[in-house]
Symmetry: C2
Subunit: 471 residues, 2 copies
Amino acid sequence: MGLSDIEPGIRNEDGIAAVIGVLRQRFGEKLQTGEAIRAQHAHTATYIPGQLPDAVVFPGSADEVKLIVRACADHRVPVIPFGTGSSLEGQVNAPSGGISIDMSRMDKVLEVNSEDLDCTVEPGVTREQLNTYLRDTGLFFPIDPGANASIGGMTSTRASGTNAVRYGTMRDNVIAVTAVTASGEEIRTARRARKSSAGYDLTRLFVGAEGTLGVITSVTLKLQGIPQAISGGVCPFPSVEAACNAVIMTIQMGIPVARIELLDALQMKACNAYSKLDNPESPSLFLEFHGTEAGVAEQAALFAEIATECGGGEFLWTTNPEQRSELWKARHNAYWASLQLRPGAKGISTDVCVPISRLAECVVQTQEDIAANGLIAPIVGHAGDGNFHVLILLDPDVSAEVAAAEDFVERLNARALAMDGTCTGEHGIGQGKRPYLALEMGEGVSMMRQIKQALDPMNIMNPGKLFSFES
Amino acid sequence: MGLSDIEPGIRNEDGIAAVIGVLRQRFGEKLQTGEAIRAQHAHTATYIPGQLPDAVVFPGSADEVKLIVRACADHRVPVIPFGTGSSLEGQVNAPSGGISIDMSRMDKVLEVNSEDLDCTVEPGVTREQLNTYLRDTGLFFPIDPGANASIGGMTSTRASGTNAVRYGTMRDNVIAVTAVTASGEEIRTARRARKSSAGYDLTRLFVGAEGTLGVITSVTLKLQGIPQAISGGVCPFPSVEAACNAVIMTIQMGIPVARIELLDALQMKACNAYSKLDNPESPSLFLEFHGTEAGVAEQAALFAEIATECGGGEFLWTTNPEQRSELWKARHNAYWASLQLRPGAKGISTDVCVPISRLAECVVQTQEDIAANGLIAPIVGHAGDGNFHVLILLDPDVSAEVAAAEDFVERLNARALAMDGTCTGEHGIGQGKRPYLALEMGEGVSMMRQIKQALDPMNIMNPGKLFSFES
């Protein structure tokens, strides 16, 4: 399958009309069918063409979600949960039409248990909202995908970001969810205890299910204490390999880096141009350390030794917040800087993740591939996890460019799989990566389909995501 | 259901005879049907009566496991995976008879990727064997349930132990498994990358499934670097509450304790008697810190301040390995010391886990309950996780004692659930906790059953565990 031919499902026109009738009576103005709002709720964040839902409904409670799901179940109409629409693989598209459930009005922080370092939020709360809410508690929620995504959406795509190397991904930070299943029942996947051996791990089943098993109605999250001290810095390296070797040594020595990000030379060049910086235009690592004053200084000193040993340049670091922001400016602006490498172009972001021992090899081969095919494609990596993104800049109206990008993505994913890696470290499968899920998981996909079939026999929960429609 | 009336299933006599015939031809002496060996493979570690399998088979490879499972599937005969038999809730019992698959001959460490801090082992490798194997690599595997359990068994019960507070449980430390499913296919649940968003989290589905979804044939594990320095110590407190408050403050301040164990006054008294020690006979915390020389000293000093603030006595600690073992002696011998409180008695171990803010309250109420009912029952807790074990010492032949213990366990589990806790932090459900799973998970159990039904429609994989036989 190519990037541009997202397979459509079959529309149940009568059912859709009936559900819209039922929901309009119940929800009034909280049900919208105008094209503009439906288009906003179809996928627009990348190259994947939007497929509009037939209506968008804005529930305010789990009971309203139940009512919506039951109406859809009665009429066999697709249910597409929607957070902020920042997913990258078509997760919010409606290939068979149906009802988009916009969770943005379920945006309450339900409880914060600061003694237990946890909180429970409605799914529409965004990560920035949550951290603003927590400001006076001494706690924070660490997971930071690029966008200000909703907690429900982050849970559903098993999101991570720059500090997963220290704090883990959503898999590690969700304690429990409540969710409305395909039959319209609400279940809770776990209690608030920190660990449990009570049966199948339903929490982890919902984390990453991309809305295909139910609609998440609340999420209980681990929180972290705000560190006493934070230090951050940047270090240039003569090659991607040298930088990756420094990452491997850092991880192996058990230095608890909070962030360790790789930018390749092209990305550094783009950042210098965009943010008027004069960083060396060579592969660079951006680091952050969390701990006590003494601890972060010790960590930075240890990393500086490693960097020198790996042939790196000077490691500039600081605990001063303003100076730290300045040192990190290139990393913070990387995405916008990339787009300026080719103004007007659209970006396709890849998302492979490999064992870190293979990271250098994977990035180097990928850069060679980019060069050999004349692509404009800077690289940013969550190096400590072995995860990196190539942003391919292309004109989606030029079919040769699209074909070249598709072929490149196919080779990149095959390369990562051959290195025992995954096609997606954090973006999820959605529509765009379905063919790669089968390549990656083999017979495991059959097991996933069996679970889906058992829990959603009518295939109304976000159909056409993870799996194609036919068996 | 009481502790003593484990519900039996229906035996498929013809199928069992047929499978034994088929397997004997293929496995020869590696199939055993003598009563002594069958009894060894039925559950014996606690009060739960043993239910013998009809035969025990010792496969040497995943292909042999496939062959066994296919033979059992052909004849609808139960398959009971067996590691070392150290589980505590009847997980290896054979209530409908069937074939016990003893994994002890699949005991090879298949690969160690030291650069990636991971390894892949066959399921019969025990945790001590693995750490012995790793001795020269600078790495170790941290999860330490009391017994020298097998990695396959630890995966299947989602085991943890004393240092889960720092390194997590099996949930957090298994990267992938291969498993033979109920239809005799082998699947692999994930690649070796540190994170992935590729579909449903099949790895976490097998972690804790207690052999009800398939037979694990290999496990890929995270490893940790052996810390540069380890410090350990012990601190007495005037009350359980004071000790728990110190735990809460320690966790809240983000001190990365490797271990923080609570022993109540009765347990300390038992340990003094058993190991001829003169520790204060009051509730005590045993701690261990992992890090750099400076880091572990800093952590110990911070904890000492907290202990003082909470009314604790002197915190004795050291980085000297022999002195550390001496300080920790009471904790290490706690189980054997407990049994000496009532020589000849059998122990029933409970396993509740609550949010740590509720730990003091839960332990205090439980001690009051113990006293009010005249039980002999010391308490040891993985306090940093909110998990504690009450070891009830009883004479299993005195029905009044058994009934009193059953009632106590019921009240304890209800107390933990009312505090948003779980009936099992690390031992699993097996047969013994099935009624509590339903109380804890509510409608979630229906979802678990749907998954079980979809993946094992004939209910041949370890039947009668997690769920009772009838729907």
